[in-house]
């Protein structure tokens, strides 16, 4: 249903291609809602207001700085230039920060997908002593705010020699109670019959898990991917605390730092923003059709 937006350009480009928004049509929807114009009336202005800053960010990334730092600012570039992108990729540590974040996010994602789905399956299907208590303990951790954990985790990581390494950034993201909960709820919603049939055919527990269960779990894994990447890719406060040397910065720290250092070079800043944001937007667009469905089985309704 939303594939039309997925196959096209990124959303910002999507709207720049047709700056005049398509007119809402009240006729032509058959058997649908009673008052489609009302929905359009709510959605059209909201969608435009929500998209506008990102569209402008994208345009600015391709503008020469002389178009931006003038009064009144130009809304449409006098000419398109890649100058901002060239600057971030040649004059700064930007490529390094981007690579660091890719590493941190990849490790975090791998950890989440493997550990949370294993644990989610264990809690949903396997019977073992201490299961209820352990699950309760894991779920209890969601109540503790990260701010409480920052200081002792900093001290602990310093003792382990992790401070100022990429490990400090990804270790807290290897698994999460939310991920375990999400996967457990998904596995509970699956019919048992398939797994039982496979067990009778002589498949081991791990075999059942990898061959039967995981392939069915694609929607839940897609949702877990989005949430994990959202957290790991966008995290700012923890890397700020745990990382101090510029070579180890994550992209979010880099953005925040060079926003201060280059505060009038808007095309470079917006180019940096765009490059740092696009990967998540793409992941989200690919995964979004699984989203609403996953939300309802996870019990968040």
């Amino acid at each position: 249903m939303t594939l039309s937006t997925v196959t096209g350009a990124p959303p910002a480009g999507d709207t720049t291609g047709r700056p005049k928004a398509p007119r809402p049509r009240t006729a032509g929807v058959s058997g649908g809602p009673k008052r489609p114009w009302l929905a359009h009336l709510i959605l059209m202005p909201t969608a435009l207001v929500f998209a506008a800053p990102l569209v402008w960010m994208t345009l600015t990334a391709f503008m020469p700085d002389t178009d931006i730092n003038r009064y009144p600012p130009r809304l449409w570039p006098s000419h398109f230039t890649l100058d901002g992108f060239v600057r971030i990729f040649t004059e700064d540590n930007y490529p390094r920060w981007l690579a660091n974040t890719v590493i941190v996010s990849a490790v975090a994602l791998a950890g989440h997908l493997v550990l949370c789905s294993l644990a989610g399956y264990g809690f949903a299907r396997l019977r073992f002593r201490g299961r209820t208590l352990t699950f309760a303990l894991v779920m209890a951790t969601v109540m503790v705010p990260t701010q409480v954990l920052m200081i002792p985790t900093f001290l602990m990581f310093r003792n382990l020699g992790l401070i100022d390494t990429l490990g400090a950034a990804f270790v807290p993201w290897l698994a999460s109670a939310f991920g375990v909960f999400l996967m457990r709820q998904f596995f509970l919603s699956l019919p048992r019959e398939l797994e039982e049939a496979a067990t009778i055919d002589g498949c081991s527990r791990l075999g059942v898990f990898f061959r039967i269960v995981l392939p069915l779990a694609r929607p839940a894994l897609a949702t877990l991917t989005v949430f994990t990447l959202l957290g790991a890719w966008n995290d700012l406060i923890w890397p700020l605390i745990a990382i101090s040397s510029e070579d180890t910065y994550t992209i979010q720290m880099g953005l925040a730092t060079f926003a201060g250092a280059r505060h009038t070079e808007w095309s470079a800043l917006m180019a940096g923003n765009l490059v740092a944001t696009l990967p998540l937007v793409l992941v989200f667009l690919v995964a979004q059709r699984h989203f609403v469905a996953t939300m309802s089985f996870s019990g968040l309704k």
Binding site: T46, L155, P172, K301
Partner: protein, 304 residues
């Protein structure tokens, strides 16, 4: 633990009991170790730290509840708490109240729905750092497009993030831009779970659209609303990233929120003991607000 329970059992029977236990633990142990090891264990440690006057290098001396007493007469903490509560009071109802009509509209099978949905959800994935830089750009008092637009429609120009009286409001507006996507998704999922028969039966009984909404749909959405209020409240009480990338607590400390103050205390002034105490204060505040929300939504369920 298995051994002590199975002492008197035959070895074969014991093995039969042990195997499922080992399999189960094998599945859940790695994630459990990471999660519990990185939250419950440090949480206890933080509590002990909050009873000492440590400086992040040394543990410091045991001071009992002195840090907590200091919190009560700390005017900066008090004003930071005020800023956080102001932000929370504006952001939480704002995001939920805007999210619901958006979800209702997004639930309609109309044209362009994919385009609308994408536009509304995408800001949710934009990081606070990128959002902050973008906000500095849009709300720049001199060159920003916000003032250009205000002037174009004949309104006076504003200082936005550089004006103590406006900065917090602007932060709320920016957060709503990035934060409405979640209520919209959650409500959309909840709406799709309301059985059709329920709304149709109400219509057949002669209820108007508004009545169906008020007396059928809203009560069905109550669990989603409770979840969202708690979730958004926790997010709001923990506001940090956006402040760090826009105002850094300025102008005149008007946007110094609790977590920003905590960050300064613990990691810039190295008052780790005091920082830990402030963190626990925030924890308690979060628990109180969440409990009130839960209690209120349960009570509503009982009387509805």
């Amino acid at each position: 633990m298995t051994v002590s329970l199975g002492v008197r059992r035959a070895p074969a029977a014991r093995r039969r009991r042990l195997l499922p236990d080992l399999t189960g633990w094998g599945f859940v142990l790695p994630a459990t170790l990471v999660i519990v090891g990185l939250s419950l264990f440090p949480a206890v440690w933080a509590l002990l730290l909050s009873l000492r006057d440590g400086d992040l290098i040394t543990g410091g001396a045991f001071v009992g509840l002195q840090n907590y007493r200091d919190m009560l007469d700390d005017p900066d903490l008090l004003s930071a708490t005020g800023h956080t509560l102001l932000y929370t009071v504006l952001f939480v109802p704002g995001s939920v109240v805007i999210g619901l009509p958006l979800a209702l509209a997004l639930n309609q099978p109309i044209r362009l729905i994919g385009f609308y949905r994408t536009c509304i959800f995408v800001p949710y994935v934009v990081s606070a750092a990128a959002t902050g830089i973008l906000a500095n750009f849009v709300f720049d008092p001199q060159f920003g497009v916000a003032n250009t637009l205000l002037q174009a429609v004949g309104l006076p120009r504003l200082g936005f993030l550089q004006e103590p009286g406006q900065a917090m409001i602007v932060l709320v507006v920016i957060s709503l831009w990035g934060g409405v996507g979640l209520p919209a998704v959650v409500y959309l999922a909840a709406l799709q779970d309301i059985p059709r028969e329920l709304t149709e039966a109400a219509r057949v009984d002669g209820a108007s659209g508004w009545h169906v909404f008020r007396h059928v749909i809203v009560p069905q959405l109550r669990p989603a609303t409770a979840f969202l209020v708690i979730w958004q409240t926790i997010e709001a009480l923990q506001l940090f990233d956006l402040v760090y990338t826009t105002t850094k607590g300025q102008p005149l400390d008007s946007t110094t929120v609790i977590v920003y103050y905590l960050y300064q205390q613990a990691f810039q002034l190295f008052h780790s003991g005091y920082g830990a105490a402030v963190a626990y204060g925030l924890f308690i505040l979060t628990l109180v607000v969440s409990s009130i929300t839960l209690w209120y939504s349960r009570r509503g369920e009982a009387t509805a």
